[in-house]
Symmetry: C2
Subunit: 318 residues, 2 copies
């Protein structure tokens, strides 16, 4: 199960009624934050999400409206008695920008680990000190498969995808067929390989068919690209920038390396996602809901984002 | 005439109902901003103050709750078609912190001039390109006398004082007594020295008694110091930190280098100011108004600040 909170749905400038684009993913009581524009910590306070358990911060790109909330958030997190490391992921250049932005902060009670432009998928596992990145390897153990995609904006920009694996069901039939001693069923089910009475038993010997997990993808800020549909394919929730609602703004979208609602909807359709959540609205667009039809004509399951939008995504019974 | 807008009355962390401490002084349509915590630009938008005409930004000190709104504000000001220089004044270290904080901003259509820890008074004059600093010299011309005071906080910190001079009234009696030709009365009144028919005429030859101007002083964050009463003396409005309302918090105030309401009120009394405006409230103090009496017992004309508090200070008829 993943919980999603859209903290802010605005782009460019913070507005009194709309925080800047940022999103929180909660998993087993720990959190991943995507983007952190000015005011993100206020949005968190308003929505009572808490600060303490944010273990990973993903930065899409280094424009101010996506990062200027970091110094304040990190300062406030120092007051939460946190000692666990925080990992910040971002495009090339992230290390330098963070070093500068955070330089006024003299006292730092936790480590900040920075990963620039990871080229291969990673896995995220919940440990006793929170969510942690590990190298990806095919196994029954990993919890979230994390991957990135280079987007096409006016500054290096990354899209993010999170795939929460679902363990196969335990299969008594298979266990019995493979003559697995009942004493070790539980350990095998948890993903351990077990040697028992000098015989090696592997998890697949007690597990049934693969089951679909949960996929959430986040794509902002960018023009549509050919690679996006495959990157977001089958997402349960595809969070995508829709800077402009009006089709009339399509030239502006091209010029500023953004998308219209229609373009985002085309990606959602091509990527065969379950639901599209639009966000990152231009300050000039006061009521994004007015343009819903421009997206819905192409992709029906569209949600026009708003600050405080929340969704729980559970495994589907299959 | 000076217009004062308290943009935010909070210290430490921005809260949903309280922006961080920052204040705007408007003079002849141009503006001076004091401090700029995260969210200051949102407060400005909420209070409809505009961004474009801010010519001077005074930073009291380099703690995050006083500066982390600068990158966002400066970014937004770039969109206001501004081309005039902005002057930022602050304590020693301001240049380095600003260089870091603003480093993600690549395109800057106006110059940023930084003055660190000015040791002598300066004058601020409104010119065609906004408010400008000049070296101070005794004259009838200058408009605002600007001075700073080193405060006593956990980081180098400056108090600010603004004295808007009022020109003496024109005195027909004096002009006639001094045999000043009527043709040059206007120029002398404006402060010019005029040579006419080979005789030198000076402004004082047509001007009456000195008249009291308007003084506004800003003191935050600090412990009370011996120098403060003289620095704030006779202020029409003395804006002062009152981090803690409750006298019970006086030890905490000492430890964190802040003040209680009572300590601020003592300064107001010793400095013989007209009015005290308290601000920079601790996030732990939900209703500062509850502690008004702690200040009022010592200094009656106290205002418990709140976001959006506004005051126009005019010259008094004497």
């Amino acid at each position: 199960m993943l919980d999603i909170t859209l903290l802010g749905s605005g782009g460019s400038m913070p507005m009194p009624h709309r925080f800047l684009s940022s999103l929180l993913i909660s998993y087993k009581g720990r959190k991943i934050l995507i983007d952190c524009g000015e005011g993100t910590q206020v949005a968190m306070r308003k929505m009572n999400t808490g600060f303490k358990n944010i273990d990973i911060i993903c930065i899409t790109h280094l424009h101010g409206d996506h990062v200027f909330g970091l110094p304040g958030l990190i300062s406030t997190m120092r007051n939460s008695e946190r000692t666990e490391k925080i990992v910040i992921v971002g495009p090339e250049g992230t290390r330098g920008v963070l070093r500068d932005l955070l330089s006024p902060i003299t006292y730092m009670p936790f480590e900040l680990d920075i990963i620039e432009n990871p080229k291969t998928p990673l896995e995220i596992i919940k440990s006793s000190v929170g969510l942690q990145f590990h190298e990806y390897h095919e196994s029954e153990n990993q919890e979230i498969i994390f991957s990135t995609l280079a987007l096409e904006h006016s500054s290096p920009c990354l899209g993010y995808s999170f795939y929460l694996k679902r363990k196969p069901k335990f299969s008594v039939e298979k266990a019995e067929l493979n003559k697995v001693p009942m004493e070790i069923w539980g350990r095998l089910q948890k993903g351990e390989t077990v040697v028992y009475d000098s015989v090696v038993y592997e998890p697949h010997m007690v597990l049934g068919e693969k089951r679909r997990g949960i996929k959430v993808s986040f794509v902002s800020d960018t023009r549509p690209t050919e690679a996006i549909p495959d990157f977001i394919r089958d997402s349960d929730l595809f969070i995508c920038e829709g800077t402009y609602g009006d089709d009339m703004d399509s030239e502006k979208a091209q010029r500023n390396r953004h998308m219209t609602f229609k373009e985002a909807a085309m990606l959602a359709k091509d990527g065969e996602v379950r639901e599209l959540l639009l966000t990152h609205f231009s300050p000039s667009m006061d009521k994004p809901e007015m343009y819903r039809q421009n997206a819905a004509e192409i992709f029906a399951d569209v949600i026009i984002g708003y600050d405080g939008y929340m969704k729980t995504i559970s495994f589907k019974d299959e």
